[in-house]
Structures are given as structure tokens and as C-alpha cells.
């Protein structure tokens, strides 16, 4: 499966709003992070369940052969704004 196909799959199945993907091929599997406001107020368990339910629905048993760990963040969780200078 291509990276684009995986991104489209997750975007469509999860109804992601303005998603940003940070995926890389590790061995034979795609793994990485997806950032979207859609994950706001969803628990860690729910985020993983959403992702894997979507992958399993689309790919069946092949999902675990083609996809590794995918972590879900909101933009606020992903970006850490540090003070630019110390007074």
C-alpha cells in the first residue's frame, strides 16, 4: 500500500479535519503520526481503536502486515510552543 493510499484511507474513514501525516516506512510497514483536531476530546484508547477499526475494515488481516504503530495527536498536542527567549 502506498503512503497516499493509507493517508486517504484514514482521512476518509475517520473523517479527519485538515490532517497532517508524518508517516515513514519502517521495514515493510508504514508507521508514524497523524495530527488532526478530530482527535480532540477523544481518549488514547478511542484514538487507537478508531485507527485500527478503520484499518481492519479496509484491509482486514492485512492491516497488521502493512501498518505499524500510528499515533494520533491534536495540533495542540503535537506543537509545543516554547518561549522564544528567556528574559
Amino acid at each position: 500500500m502506498s503512503k497516499v493510499k493509507l493517508q486517504e484511507l484514514l482521512t476518509d474513514r475517520l473523517g479527519l479535519t485538515d490532517p497532517i501525516f508524518k508517516l515513514e516506512k519502517i521495514g515493510s510497514k508504514w508507521a508514524g503520526s497523524v495530527i488532526s483536531e478530530t482527535f480532540h476530546a477523544k481518549s488514547d484508547r478511542d484514538r487507537q481503536r478508531l485507527i485500527w477499526d478503520a484499518l481492519t475494515a479496509e484491509l482486514g488481516d492485512q492491516s497488521v502486515q502493512q501498518v505499524g504503530t500510528v499515533l494520533a495527536y491534536t495540533p495542540r498536542e503535537w506543537n509545543v510552543e516554547l518561549p522564544e527567549r528567556v528574559a
Partner: protein
């Protein structure tokens, strides 16, 4: 003067170091040093992951691939499934994937630079900690 010979860290080095960082984290937490504790706990997780990668990846073990540079904790966490730590049968039940997601969500690589106040505020805003 004796010449010092550098050697690459091996799996046992990473494992022992991780356990020390975990112990450090506990001591800091008990004395109210949240940022130092969280930072060390993250390093412990990183060390444990590095130990498993070292054990499972022959290229790392033989020095053909290096673990010394790069890879922050969030990146290492995405290797978990590839390391065989999750099987297709237990991924939803053992809770490990949920914990990996939680660590990834709360961790940031600049954590070692911030104050406990900064960390408390960030985690409060993310709904992870409460006042009181």
C-alpha cells in the same frame, strides 16, 4: 597517558541506563520535581525501546546502523509494533498500544528545557492533570 577507546552502547547498557533513569524519575517525583521526573521517565522509556531495538535489529547490533543520533521518543514509539511488542491478537486487549499513545501525546522533545510550572500548565491544558 592511556588512550580511551569509545564503544557503542549495547542492549544491556540501554537497559541498565533505563532502569536508572526510572529510579531517578521516582526520586524526583517524590520531591515534587515534576519536569525533571517526567523528563527522566521519558528517557527511561527511550532507553527501554533502544534496548529492544538493539536486541531485535541485527544491523544495530553489528554497528551497521546507529542508534546514537536522532530519533526522539515520539519517533521511537512508532517502532513499537515493528519490534513485535504488539501482536495482531492482543493489540486491543493488552493496553500497551493505549499506553504508547498516551506517552506520545504527553511527551515533547524539549521537555528537558522546561520548568515544572510550564509542564503543569501544558498538561493541565491538555486535561491530563487537575488542580489541587
Amino acid at each position: 597517558m592511556a588512550k580511551l577507546h569509545a564503544r557503542n552502547l549495547n542492549g544491556e547498557d540501554y537497559r541498565k541506563g533505563a532502569l536508572e533513569r526510572l529510579s531517578d524519575a521516582r526520586i524526583l517525583l517524590d520531591t515534587g520535581q515534576l519536569a525533571g521526573s517526567a523528563s527522566n521517565a521519558g528517557r527511561a522509556v527511550e532507553g527501554m525501546l533502544r534496548a529492544v531495538i538493539w536486541k531485535r535489529d541485527p544491523d544495530v547490533r553489528t554497528g551497521q546502523k546507529s542508534l546514537v543520533a536522532g530519533h526522539d521518543l515520539r519517533e521511537l514509539l512508532t517502532h513499537v509494533r515493528n519490534l513485535g511488542l504488539l501482536s495482531s491478537f492482543e493489540r486491543q486487549e493488552d493496553g500497551l498500544e493505549e499506553l504508547v499513545q498516551q506517552i506520545g501525546r504527553l511527551w515533547f522533545n524539549n521537555m528537558r528545557f522546561v520548568s515544572s510550572r510550564f509542564l503543569e500548565t501544558r498538561w493541565y491544558n491538555l486535561g491530563e492533570v487537575r488542580k489541587g
